[in-house]
C-alpha cells in the first residue's frame, strides 16, 4: 500500500531523514512532502464531506472530526489503514529512531478565522510521535502557523523559535517529550486551516485534545 501513497524518493533517503529529525531544534522534528500530492488532493475532497464538531476551551478554538477509525468513508479508511499499518509505522520508526510504535490516532481539524491552539506539550502516557498533515495553503498574513518553543532548564516554554506556515501536503512529525511545547497561531483571515493530525502511540488511546 505504501507505494500508492508515498513519494518513493523518501524511501531511499531514510538515514538522511533520521539525521535531520534528530538534529533539528528546539526538539526533534521533520517536515517533508511524504505523500503523493494527487492522493492528498483526493483525500482533502473526502475530508471536506465530514462532520466537524466545534471545540472551545481555554486552550483552543477549532472544529474536529471523530477519530478516523470510526469514520465510514472509503478513501479515509484507506488512508487510516495506511498510517496505522505495520509497514508505515516501521517507516516512522526508522525516520525518528523511536521504537515501539503500534497504534495511530487520527482526526481532521479545521481552524476557522480566529481559531487557535495555545502552548502545550502534547504529553499523554502513550503518545510518542505527533504528526500533522497540512491540507491548506496559507500565506504568512493568514496566521495559522505551527510554532515550536525553546525551553529553559526546567522545561518551561520560553519563546517561539520555529514557525511553520501551512503548505498543502506538508507532513510534520515531532517527538513528544517534556520539551515539545508548540502552538497553532490564530488564523487571521477568513481562510480555513485544514489538517489531519494525531499521534503514533505505544498503544491505542482514544484521548484527543
Amino acid at each position: 500500500m505504501l507505494k500508492n501513497w508515498i513519494n518513493q524518493l523518501h524511501l531511499k533517503n531514510i538515514s538522511k531523514l533520521n539525521k535531520e529529525f534528530n538534529t533539528n531544534k528546539p526538539f526533534p522534528y521533520l517536515e517533508l512532502e511524504l505523500f503523493k500530492k494527487a492522493k492528498i488532493k483526493q483525500l482533502l475532497n473526502e475530508v471536506k464531506k465530514l462532520n466537524f464538531e466545534e471545540k472551545d476551551s481555554d486552550l483552543f478554538y477549532l472544529f474536529q472530526t471523530k477519530d478516523f477509525r470510526s469514520i465510514d468513508n472509503k478513501l479515509i479508511k484507506e488512508f487510516y489503514s495506511l498510517i496505522s499499518s505495520r509497514e508505515f509505522l516501521d517507516l516512522i520508526e526508522k525516520i525518528t529512531g523511536v521504537k515501539g510504535l503500534n497504534a495511530t490516532d487520527a482526526a481532521s481539524l479545521i481552524f476557522p478565522d480566529t481559531g487557535y491552539l495555545l502552548p502545550h506539550d502534547d504529553r499523554l502516557s502513550t503518545r510518542k510521535i505527533a504528526y500533522i498533515l497540512n491540507l491548506s495553503n496559507f500565506k504568512e498574513k493568514d496566521g495559522g502557523q505551527l510554532e515550536f518553543f525553546s525551553t529553559d532548564s526546567n522545561n518551561n516554554p520560553i519563546k517561539v523559535v520555529k514557525s511553520i506556515t501551512p503548505k498543502f501536503n506538508n507532513f510534520i512529525i515531532f517527538k513528544v517529550s517534556e520539551k515539545s511545547f508548540h502552538q497553532v497561531n490564530e488564523v487571521l483571515t477568513n481562510k480555513q486551516r485544514i489538517t489531519i493530525g494525531g499521534w503514533f502511540n505505544e498503544q491505542y488511546t482514544s484521548k484527543s485534545y
Binding site: D58, T114, L118, G143, N156, I158, F181
Partner: protein
Amino acid sequence: MNNTLQNLINPDYLNNETIKRARASFLSNNFLPNIQLQSFLKENTLKSLQKEMKLLSYSHSYKPDQHSYFTASTPESFISLLESKDFKELISGITGIKIKDFFCEALYFGHKNYTLLSDKDKIKESTAFFFDLNDWNIKFGGYNWLLNNQNENIIYHPKANSLLIVKQSNKLRSTIKYINHQAKDDKRFIIKGYFTQKA
C-alpha cells in the same frame, strides 16, 4: 460607613438591604459562589481611575503555557479603597468571609492575551475579585470563564464599573479566554486580586 466610602462607591451598596440581597445571591450558588456588583463606583471615581489606569507603566507577563497579559502596580486611590475597614466589612457582609488582607494588580488584556487553567496551578482557597474599567465585546474572547470540577461553567460578560467576586478553590477556577484579532487595538483594563481571610 465613613465619608470616604460614601464618596467613592455607589450608595446602593452601603444599604443593609442591598448587602443582604447580594449575600443571599452569592451564597445561593453552591457550585459556583460568585457575584457581579454592577455600577460599583461613583461615576467621577470611575472616570479618574480609568485615566490613572491608562497612564500606568505596564510590563508584559508571559509564561506561554500559563498566561500572557500586561501588568502594573494598582493605582493608590484603589488601594486606599481596598485598605479601608468599611470596604472590608462590605465584602465580608456580601461573602460571609472575614477579610484579613488582600493582594491586587492592575492588568490589561489585548489581542493574543489569555490565562490558562494550568495543571501546574495549585489554587489556595481565596476570594478573588475582578474590577472592570471598561465595557468589552465578548466576541473578541477575553471574558472570565468560571469552571468547577463537575464541568459546570459560567461566562461573565465584562462590564465597565463592575466588581466580580468569586470564591476560588481547587474545585472552582477562573480563566480569561484568549483575545482574538477582531479586538484590533481594544484592551480590557481590570484590577484583579484576592482577599485572604481570617482564620
